[in-house]
Symmetry: C2
Subunit: 408 residues, 2 copies
Amino acid sequence: MSQQRTAGLGTNQEAVRRHNLGTLLRHVHGAGQLSRAELTTAMGLNRSTIAGLVAELGVLGVTRRAVPASSRTGAGRPSAGVSLAHDGPYVIAVDLGVDRAVVAAVALGGDVLRRAQAPVDDGGEAWQVGAAVAGLIRQVVTDVPASSPLVGIGISVPGLVRRGDGLIRMAPNLEWTDVSFGGIVLAALGLDIPVSLANDANLGALAEHRRGAGVGIDDLIYISGNVGVGAGVIVGGVQLEGVGGYAGEMGHISFNPNGLPCHCGNIGCWETEVGAYAIADAISSPESGAIQLGEVLEAFAEAPAALRPAGTALGYGLANIVNAFNPQMVVLGGHLGSLYTLVRAQVDAGLAARALPAALESVTVCLPGLGADSVLLGAAEIAFEPLFVDPVAALSGALVDVGSRLAG
Amino acid sequence: MSQQRTAGLGTNQEAVRRHNLGTLLRHVHGAGQLSRAELTTAMGLNRSTIAGLVAELGVLGVTRRAVPASSRTGAGRPSAGVSLAHDGPYVIAVDLGVDRAVVAAVALGGDVLRRAQAPVDDGGEAWQVGAAVAGLIRQVVTDVPASSPLVGIGISVPGLVRRGDGLIRMAPNLEWTDVSFGGIVLAALGLDIPVSLANDANLGALAEHRRGAGVGIDDLIYISGNVGVGAGVIVGGVQLEGVGGYAGEMGHISFNPNGLPCHCGNIGCWETEVGAYAIADAISSPESGAIQLGEVLEAFAEAPAALRPAGTALGYGLANIVNAFNPQMVVLGGHLGSLYTLVRAQVDAGLAARALPAALESVTVCLPGLGADSVLLGAAEIAFEPLFVDPVAALSGALVDVGSRLAG
DNA sequence: GCCGTTTTGTTCACCCGAACAACAATTACG
DNA sequence: CGTAATTGTTGTTCGGGTGAACAAAACGGC
């Protein structure tokens, strides 16, 4: 629910300032610390202009002047560093999993200030989960400096999230349908701040693209193995959403017409071959092991033979994805990452067998650079997004001293 | 090879003018004729600004003042119309098919000034085909006013085209590999102007999005049935390309593990079920009928039973596409359009059976609004693209009086 | 048929923001 | 220690979008 569609509009002159200010902040957010000279070359603007923008961000309380980071060697005056203020803006990131919820306060720059988590009951009602999440948020905001403005809340959902309003259309593993979870959490908190929701795979892709294994890579796919299987797709540096926001449901691509029934009602979806339940079955792990499948797989020192067909199926499915999207990188998250480390040979062979040579030659399969935090940090990213589109407006709408507001 | 990646750059102030001038021209190109008042609201700029931009385009010889188009009723001074100059810029569009090449001179606004076509020998060498295309281009430019500047050449290719340099990596039905066809055509012409190449499905999608069935629809997929099967994908109003430019090869998504061998080396690709050869086989049409399959299918008044499985396979494959991309519209081009009109029931049923409900509810399957010209007009669009990015630069690099240059 | 209303084109001064140039600051290197 | 190189700082210039005022052109009611 991020990308605004402004096709055909002209560029207003105040929009120039907004855009430049936001872009500069985006750079600082991405690098954490960088020099004004680097900003000058990265943004292609004049020194004076960068100086003005940096000064404005300083007045806004977002950045501060840092010691000259000696990244460059050679003659010349060292460039003054720009880094993030200690009491700068932050967001709440929520990773709603199948069996647990993780909540974190994340500062600009991507640092996790504090995190908390709690189990989520299987089949819990949305309002119960919302109350639990609200409780975690209350915990998490206590440590944040009171003067830090809270920009918004980003929530990752293992299911289909409608673009625009963030309604959860279907979350099979939570057994939710048409739940307005953002509203529920806000009501439980008694606050009114921007809430963004998105699919977990989409957020994993976003985080890996911005601060994980895919930095600098504009065509990237993150495949989430989180009981179900979904893909987050970034093409040309922007997220693929689709009209409704449901793009990337690669788990329900037909894979085997003679396969097993899928919970979606069809037969032989890819998820029935590489989903957590299928793999747990293959290694005769108890059904409950499917939810913790990542850990179960990590425990293996060597791959049992029973996993090899799943590896091949993963490779074949990846080939479909490579043919469809021609990505430069495919990141395997959740249990698929664990599976990949075990049966890498089968996966690579399956991919090479079925992908078109031209598309295969430029793709890399890898593990998440952010480990298990990809999705959580992606949730932080969408919450920050308005700040990069219009810093001034986003900050004027942000709340300060949230800790005491929530305590009182 | 169109979309330039400028992520992270700041907005230069001269870039504002470029962008606004290009955007205005894009509007005029799209609508053909529209009033300055409409431009003002569409672009969100001031009346004065629009006036300045329109004046500049007039000086450039691109637009001319038109009679007040009375689109609005009511009081008030009628708004002056902006329409395209008679001797304005134009491009050469080339649709390279499996058995024939179509070449057209296309004016700004999308009008085909003149077209010519010639058969292409099966298995012809690239330089032979290039010479034939050059001959058609010579024919086509004769009618164009000498003062009209030729902006560039756009070429549609039934195969994989590398982004950036436009190299044809693989065109199975032409039996070409790694052919620099743009260079070949330019050499045959003895000219040096910008040439853009792209995959036929991508161009079909572009044309349908801009002037066909998908005007105003930002998430659209065009599926080309042109012996092989490929998809052109537009998401969020921009073309999905992938790192190398090979995205959208949906014809080689695995469809049936027990299916027939595909020319790509795999088994059971979707193309082996809905490609022209498969369908020609099904209706016992001679092998040569595959190339003209569209016409063969059009001749049927009612669908023979033998086509029904192909219809179902088409529906199933569309479901995969809908799940992957969540488009708002799917346009079926080439023989797939003809097939759809015959076995629509099977296609719709197959799609409904396998697509996720959330994604299914917002998708429409339809036929091309531009008929058989989608791809040709798409080739014109990519040739025009530089003009909308920077009108002044594109015009300064354009050639005038091409007719006599090529004749002499 | 006239006059007020409405909408738009036209012109001008204005403002904002990026670019540019000159100078100062600061370091590396010989 | 002096020179070259790079960057921050400052004041000025320049370009382009904005806004106000006025003119133009059509409609509608009287």
